[in-house]
């Protein structure tokens, strides 16, 4: 496609430049020995406010933000805007939880949520369950990042799966080399690019489309004309509950993912986390405006690229809009921003998943006497395997809205909430009660997902994450986020099973943590000094 030559050149140059930075990152703040899990996996755990802000922000604002959310807003309207209240709710919610997690992790040297669960509930089995859940839930989320890169490449006229596999090979290579250092350094470049592109998009594009008023009017006209009940410029009776549960459920899920915790644990002290929880919503404002790119595409009459299966690919809506509105060279910059914005979180996610495997499966069950170097090696290899798993997800899955990949991951990861998040506050639950709750919650979640059809492709199962309450016998068109309902099942079962196990006097595990561990801060004698690089 000659029409996209300039875009392709600019995109490729920027992309290669940033990949090169990833390799250099291995030498940045260089430790004496990168061959340990603390170094490779957590970058030495002494990042200050700024780096943490970029790092945590970098893995929260991803292809999900740029591709999946606007595609949902384009297709369904108000419902897709749930991504905004989601990011408003999340920071106050995790403000205290994450500082506790930081403290207890630094006292005991935890790297993963499963490490914590193992010590807190004295149960290697529960830790294994949490670790496997984290691994599985991360894969569709990484897959979503791939869909984002794929959408950009499709828009530039490249088709097939080959480009995405090449892009992932580059990512895999430099993550392997540098660990968390690669994504941390690239996050600066990525965010700079993204800010430039977004500011240009939300200032320039509306002026070309007759202002915000006419953008919203065009969207309203589209949804008024559409026969579908679930779309509209505002919410209706059937999707309000879904809107709230999506926002709340997504917020509960986010910091259970092993990758979000990685960025938090790499902070220097508790105040760095708190300060970041106050400052991170600065991204939310942008996120809201990015979501509205979906409406701009409606106003601009954007037509998504038709995919290989003959159906239009809604994920290409934003790239096509950029192609229409921007000069070619700037569209190339924007595509690079989207692609790099997908690569960084994909790297962080795969590193976190790898840490999880090494600590809680490899060392626990396969090689109890693993050396630091062996652990780092296994983590590196696992991070490759996880990426391959995500590539397979892309080749096999075909969701109507790519956002459902993330939401299905959410249904799964939410089942670790009682052990991980509630575990930071109470040791009341019985370890076997938590395992029972996890099993039934996960079962209920998968059953609900199985019942959800995809109306566009005509597939009867696993077509989304909005569960119709009519399935439970209610006479209503109301839908609810499956993850929310599954978590409710999990909690109820965990409570009942805990009471039952106590009554039957089934042995519970010990608790290796003490109350003071949850409030320890930098400088506290219990907080392990990180004997690493650290000259700032």
């Amino acid at each position: 496609m000659s029409g996209h030559t300039t875009e392709l050149v600019v995109f490729s140059v920027l992309f290669l430049l940033v990949s090169g930075m990833g390799f250099v990152a291995a030498r940045w703040r260089r430790p004496d020995n990168i061959e340990s899990l603390n170094e490779w996996g957590l970058g030495g755990r002494n990042f200050g406010s700024w780096i943490t802000w970029f790092l945590v922000g970098g893995d929260l604002y991803t292809a999900y933000t740029f591709v999946a959310v606007p595609a949902l807003v384009f297709g369904a309207g108000a419902l897709g805007f749930y991504a905004l209240p989601y990011t408003v709710v999340i920071y106050p919610m995790v403000f205290l939880v994450l500082t506790r997690m930081w403290s207890v992790s630094h006292v005991h040297g935890f790297v993963t949520p499963a490490d914590f669960v193992r010590a807190r509930f004295g149960s290697p089995t529960l830790a294994l369950v949490v670790a496997i859940t984290g691994l599985v839930a991360t894969m569709p989320y990484i897959a979503l990042q791939l869909v984002g890169i794929e959408a950009v490449l499709k828009t530039m006229g490249i088709t097939g799966h080959l480009p995405i596999i090449i892009a992932f090979a580059i990512l895999a290579a430099y993550t392997y080399q540098s660990g968390l250092r690669a994504p941390a350094l690239i996050a600066f470049v990525k965010d700079t690019l993204i800010y430039i592109v977004i500011l240009a998009a939300v200032i320039y594009i509306p002026t070309q489309l007759g202002g915000w008023e006419s953008i919203f009017d065009a969207a309203k006209a589209k949804f008024d004309a559409s026969p579908s009940q679930s779309d509209g410029l505002t919410l209706n009776a059937s999707n309000q509950l879904q809107y709230i549960t999506l926002a709340f459920g997504s917020a509960l899920a986010l910091f259970l993912y092993p990758h979000s915790l990685t960025g938090v644990l790499a902070s220097r002290n508790r105040n760095v986390i708190k300060r970041n929880m106050s400052a991170l919503p600065a991204y939310s404002f942008l996120l809201g405006l990015i979501a509205l790119l979906g409406f701009m595409a409606i106003a601009a009459g954007t037509k998504p690229v038709v995919g290989a299966n003959g159906r239009p690919d809604g994920n290409t809506i934003v790239p096509v809009l950029f192609d229409q509105m921007f000069p070619d060279w700037f569209a190339g910059v924007a595509y690079a921003a989207i692609a790099i914005g997908a690569l960084v979180p994909a790297a962080i996610m795969s590193i976190a998943a790898a840490n999880l495997f090494t600590r809680n499966i490899y060392r626990e069950y396969l090689n109890k006497d693993a050396t630091d170097a062996q652990e780092a090696k296994v983590s590196k290899i696992t991070s490759l395997v996880v990426k391959v798993g995500a590539v397979l997800c892309i080749l096999i899955l075909d969701p109507q809205f790519s956002i459902d990949l993330q939401l299905i991951g959410g249904v799964i990861i939410l089942q670790t909430l009682p052990s991980v998040a509630l575990g930071l506050y109470t040791r009341w639950f019985h370890r076997s009660g938590l395992i029972t709750g996890w099993a039934l919650g996960l079962g209920a979640g998968l059953w609900m997902l199985y019942l959800i059809p995809n109306p566009v492709s005509g597939k009867a199962h696993f077509g989304g994450s909005a569960f119709g309450l009519s399935n439970l016998g209610f006479d209503t068109t109301m839908t609810i986020y499956a993850g929310f309902l599954a978590l409710a099942v999990n909690l109820v079962v965990a409570v009942l099973a805990t009471l039952a196990f106590r009554a039957m006097k089934v042995a519970d595990g010990g608790d290796a943590t003490s109350r003071g561990d949850y409030f320890a801060d930098e400088g506290d004698p219990k907080v392990k000094p990180m004997d690493l690089t650290g000259t700032h």
């Binding site: 905004l84 408003v88 919203f216 505002t234 300060r275 809201g288």
Partner: protein
């Protein structure tokens, strides 16, 4: 531990300021507050501008709690 008082008091993250965190958690989850097209602000329907405004509530509350409890 230069300050003997703080050395004796067991550490905790309890603070009355923490209650303030509930405000930005609850507000965005009440659609009846914002589920309407009118009134518009700068062309944005109420649904969109009010939810964007909730970000300011969120930032203010978390910043205040951080300042008061650090």
């Amino acid at each position: 531990m230069t300050n003997p008082e703080s050395a004796q008091k067991p550490r905790s993250d309890r603070s009355p300021w923490n209650w303030l965190l509930f405000l930005p958690i609850v507000l965005p989850l009440l659609p009846f507050l914002f589920n309407s097209d009118e009134p518009r602000l700068f062309g944005f329907p109420l649904f969109y501008w009010l939810q964007l405004a909730f970000i300011i509530v969120g930032v203010s509350c978390t910043t205040l709690v951080y300042r008061m409890t650090r």
